[in-house]
C-alpha cells in the first residue's frame, strides 16, 4: 500500500498496516492458462472479424462510440417491452374478437328464440 492516510476518526496507521497484512494473507487465484487462452482467443476472433468485415466493424465501432452501448440499452429494453406489449395486445384482441363472434351467434340465436316466443304468444293467447 503506497499511502495510508485516512479520514479523521479512522484507524491509526498501525491498525491500517495490520489490516493490510491480514487482507493480503488471503491470496487470489492466479489467472489459469485456460483463461489466458480464452482472452487471446477473443483477440484472435476480433482480428478475424475485422479482416473479414473491415468497413462494417469500423462502422459498428463508431456507432457504438457515438451513441454508447449503455445509453442504448435502456432504450432497447423499452422498445422491446413496447413491442412485446403490442404483440400481446394484438393477440388478445384477436381472441376477444373471436369470443365476441361466438357470443354474438349465441346472442342472435337467443334473440331469435325470443322472437319465436313473442310470435307464438299472441297465437296462444288467441287460442
Amino acid at each position: 500500500m503506497k499511502k495510508v492516510n485516512d479520514m479523521p476518526g479512522g484507524l491509526e496507521d498501525r491498525e491500517i498496516n495490520a489490516l493490510d497484512a491480514v487482507l493480503k494473507s488471503v491470496a487470489a487465484p492466479p489467472a489459469s492458462d485456460a483463461l489466458r487462452a480464452s482472452m487471446l482467443a477473443d483477440f484472435d476472433a476480433l482480428q478475424r472479424s475485422r479482416r473479414a468485415h473491415p468497413a462494417a466493424s469500423a462502422l459498428v465501432a463508431r456507432l457504438r462510440d457515438f451513441l454508447g452501448v449503455r445509453t442504448l440499452a435502456p432504450a432497447g429494453l423499452l422498445a422491446g417491452i413496447t413491442a412485446l406489449g403490442f404483440a400481446a395486445g394484438v393477440a388478445s384482441a384477436g381472441s376477444m374478437i373471436a369470443i365476441s363472434d361466438e357470443q354474438s351467434v349465441f346472442l342472435t340465436a337467443a334473440i331469435d328464440e325470443g322472437f319465436l316466443v313473442d310470435e307464438e304468444m299472441p297465437a296462444w293467447v288467441e287460442d
Binding site: G10, L11, V26, A28, D42, L46
Partner: protein, 192 residues
C-alpha cells in the same frame, strides 16, 4: 521476442494493429491483477474469470483507438472496466437471488501462504470483505490488494480523493469490527 522494455502503451498500439504477441504480453502483465480484483469483488472464481475476460475483450475492441495522449494508463483503464462490470454483476445477483453464503474458495492448488493460514481464517477475511457495501469493498480492494494510491483508486472509481478516503475509512472500520473476534488468531497466523 522479449517485451521487457516495451511500455503498455506501445503494446496496446501494436495489439491495435493486430499484433498477437503484443496482446499476449498484455495478458501476461495484467491478467492476474484484473482477476484478483474481480475475485475479491465477486467472491467467486467463475464469475471473476468471466468479468476479467470481458474486460480484456473491451481492451481489444478499444485498442485501435487507444489514445496515448489521453493520459489513461492501461491498468487503470482495465481496473475501471473490471470493477464497473463487477458492480453490475453484484447488483444483478442481488436482484435475482441474495447470497448469504461465504465466498467460494479458489480451487487452484494452494500457495505457501494459503497453506500457512487456515481455511477458517481465509473464509473469515473473505466473508468480512464480502459483507462490505460494494463501493467500500471496491476502495479496499483497489488500495490494499492492488496497491493503488488513493489518487489512482479515486481515478479508477471516478470519484474525488476525499470521497475515496471516506469510503476507505468506513470500509476499514467495518473490516476491523468484523475481524475483531478472530484478531488474536489472525495475528498469530501472520506471525507464524
Amino acid at each position: 521476442m522479449t517485451f521487457e522494455n516495451v511500455s503498455d502503451e506501445e503494446l496496446i498500439a501494436s495489439a491495435g494493429n493486430g499484433d498477437r504477441l503484443a496482446a499476449s504480453e498484455l495478458i501476461s502483465r495484467h491478467a492476474d491483477k484484473i482477476l484478483g480484483v474481480c475475485w475479491r469483488m465477486l467472491g467467486e472464481k467463475a464469475a471473476a474469470e468471466d468479468v476479467a475476460q470481458e474486460a480484456f475483450l473491451r481492451l481489444w475492441e478499444f485498442a485501435p483507438k487507444w489514445n496515448p495522449d489521453g493520459g489513461a494508463r492501461i491498468d487503470t483503464w482495465l481496473y475501471r472496466v473490471a470493477v464497473n462490470r463487477c458492480v453490475d454483476r453484484l447488483r444483478k445477483t442481488k436482484r435475482e437471488a441474495p447470497q448469504d453464503a461465504a465466498p467460494e474458495m479458489a480451487d487452484d492448488a494452494p500457495s505457501a501462504t494459503q497453506v500457512l493460514i487456515g481455511e477458517d481464517r481465509r473464509k473469515s477475511v473473505l466473508a468480512a470483505l464480502e459483507a462490505l457495501p460494494e463501493r467500500q469493498r471496491m476502495a479496499v480492494v483497489l488500495c490494499h490488494y492492488q496497491e493503488l494510491s488513493n489518487i489512482e483508486a479515486a481515478d479508477v472509481m471516478k470519484i474525488s480523493v476525499d470521497a475515496l478516503e471516506s469510503l476507505l475509512a468506513r470500509g476499514r472500520r467495518a473490516l476491523k469490527a468484523a475481524l475483531a473476534p478472530m484478531r488474536q488468531e489472525l495475528m498469530e497466523g501472520l506471525a507464524g
